[in-house]
């Protein structure tokens, strides 16, 4: 596989514009090019801001989900490129899987590679995985797999894949108040400036009644509630369900009685309605 190596993190706003302007007429196979950045230095100010916004303890340890935001600009660069067969606008983040091979700290120099794989049918359209691999000195330390859905003609026979376990029942472990500005706060950190997250008006323009929280913020916030369990070697699988509208209050539920922790966020008004389900396994 060919590799396109970038010397610095790509600027995302122009890429989103490019992706929007070139969305028509995309077809074909996934590009055979991986996008890579080498020797990425963690900006401690950014890390601390991320830890604050997501609820992790401030410090040197990279949260379970932090490398995702380092790889995200490469994901956008790859998907905005004309060689990517699906239009970026409208892609829905359905699932995310992360494996932390060892505890990462702000002192690690990270080589981040992103590639696309697994273009496949889904009942509601087509799925693609954006795979992020992080290495330190040639050793794999972190893997991410973000699964996106392109809505369209579905395939009723498509394999459903791993399904989310049922959310734990019973009283909530906690409530999380998500303020109106949460989308803007996370957009500033992640570079994900999708208008559906920024403001009620921009979200309305995109067909949403209100702005919604970033899925990866809800995931990070939930993992932060489980800290430090995701900091060391561990694997998570996240399923995004109903969006969290801003502002709102959601309930955190956790079942950590068994080796694989199941946690999630659910609606206060309708506990049967999950926003997010995640499993966290540790070796």
């Amino acid at each position: 596989m060919a590799t396109q190596t970038l010397s610095e993190s790509p600027s995302l706003a122009p890429l989103f514009v490019k992706a929007a302007l070139t969305q028509r007429g995309r077809r074909g196979d996934l590009p055979a090019t991986a996008w890579r950045r080498e020797g990425v230095v963690v900006d401690r100010g950014h890390l601390l801001a991320y830890q604050r916004v997501c609820g992790f303890t401030g410090g040197d340890i990279l949260p379970h989900t932090y490398p995702h935001v380092l790889g995200f600009p490469l994901q956008v660069a790859l998907m905005a490129d004309r060689s990517f067969p699906l239009p970026l606008p409208g892609l829905v983040h359905l699932e995310n899987q992360i494996t932390v091979h060892r505890r990462l700290t702000a002192d690690d120099r990270l080589d981040v590679t992103v590639r696309a794989e697994g273009l496949r049918p889904h009942v509601k359209g087509r799925l693609v995985d954006l795979v992020t691999e992080v290495e330190v000195d040639g050793v794999r330390v972190w893997d991410g797999r973000s699964t996106y859905l392109r809505r369209g003609p579905g395939d009723v026979d498509a394999s459903p894949g791993d399904q989310a376990p049922p959310l734990p029942e019973g009283p909530p472990a906690g409530v999380i108040r998500v303020p109106e500005g949460q989308g803007r706060a996370y957009a500033a950190l992640s570079g994900d400036v999708n208008p559906i997250h920024l403001h009620a008006l921009s979200a309305k323009a995109m067909g949403f009644p209100r702005a919604i929280a970033h899925g990866m913020w809800t995931a990070a916030r939930t993992l932060a509630a489980l800290e430090p369990r995701g900091n060391d070697a561990s694997s998570s699988h996240l399923w995004f369900a109903k969006p969290v509208f801003l502002p709102s209050t959601v309930e955190l539920v956790v079942d950590d009685e068994s080796p694989v922790i199941v946690a999630g966020l659910r609606s206060v008004k309708d506990p049967a309605k999950p926003h997010l389900t995640l499993t966290l396994a540790r070796p």
Binding site: R44, L48, T57, G58, G59, D60, A106, D107, E227, P228, E257
Partner: protein, 437 residues
Amino acid sequence: MATSPKPARPSSQPRRAAVIGGNRIPFARQNGAYARATNQDMLTAAIEGLVARHGLAGEQVGEVAAGAVLKHSRDFNLTRESVLGSSLSARTPAYDVQQACGTGLEAAILVGNKIALGQIDSGIAGGTDTASDAPIAVNEGLRETLLTLNRAKTPGQRAKALTHLRPGQLVPEIPRNVEPRTGLSMGEHMAQTAKQWGITREAQDEIAAASHQNLAAAYERGFFDDLVTPFLGQTRDQNLRADSTVEKLAKLTPVFGRGEGATMTAGNSTPLTDGASAVLLGSDEWAAEHGLPVLAHLVDAQTAAVDYVTGNEGLLMAPAYALPHLLERQGMKLQDFDLVEIHEAFAATVLTTLAAWESEEFCRDRLGLDAPIGVLDRSKLNVNGSSLAAGHPFAATGGRIVASLAKMLHEKGSGSRGLISICAAGGQGVMAILEAA
């Protein structure tokens, strides 16, 4: 689910609590490397380092006692929250302690006493403070208006509450480093006492230079390798100046006291600092079961307080009053100690304390002793540096000293004894004796 350790067995015969190890993060100057770190961040980091060093992940220790002096109202359960954020078992109970600058040492004494009584078999004592991420309260008028607004149930009530808003309410309440009853800063109090005892500028600068040089030398020979865990990119105490000399310190302008007699500078006073520390204590049996060597035992402890409010005694003189009780109980003389750690709130604090113990008049009139406590061999004093060089995040200082002294005594050999003296706001003092295992 993890099973609980077997319950500690209360005993009518006290046993000595063992100091097994310690950990702290490097201390940073106010608005320095930890400008945006919270007390909880730092205390969690100190505990996590301790847990990692002693293989306690998932372990339920008997109790964790720690505290902070400058504390946000949201940190009402600071220590318990830090435990929940650490790798310790979530079933480890915790409580907060606050005795101003004596917090860390008091926490160690409290944990040690519970171990001595057999109520717990292991425990962690700690402390954290930030002078950077300080609690700023909203203006009281604004606070009341906001609380009223919060209580309002109808739009009319809300509108009425809002009419109480005033531009002047935007001025926040910032905590000030003054004694509430006197309105004087601690430095101003100390300057008064230093003047009263005739403490010279030169003597203070000598203490300060020695503190920096001793701390730097201790870092150089790796003394802190198993006592300090890096945090936020900081690997050594930010305030440490290895090249500090009496000559350089002599150039600084006094900041406390007024006019001719002013001797206290930024160089011979501790700076405002951020940091945290933690100490692992346990019974000898618990340590053996966990394969952990014992550094020292907590032998005895004593607190004291002075009435400084009307100026009868110096604000930071309480440790001078605590010592005779310890000496009498232990049948010891000051000169019997192999090492002495006197917290350097200011260089002048150390010097006035030593001067008081040397003074026949003070020992007779104030302490009720027949003879002065006498002179301390300075080669035993703060041999690896103290707060002037390391900095002094208030509640973290006790843990720093307990862990360092335990290790120093252990290096000296079994049976060697050390004394810890810490002065605290409100005219208080905390002392403890450690003995090498």
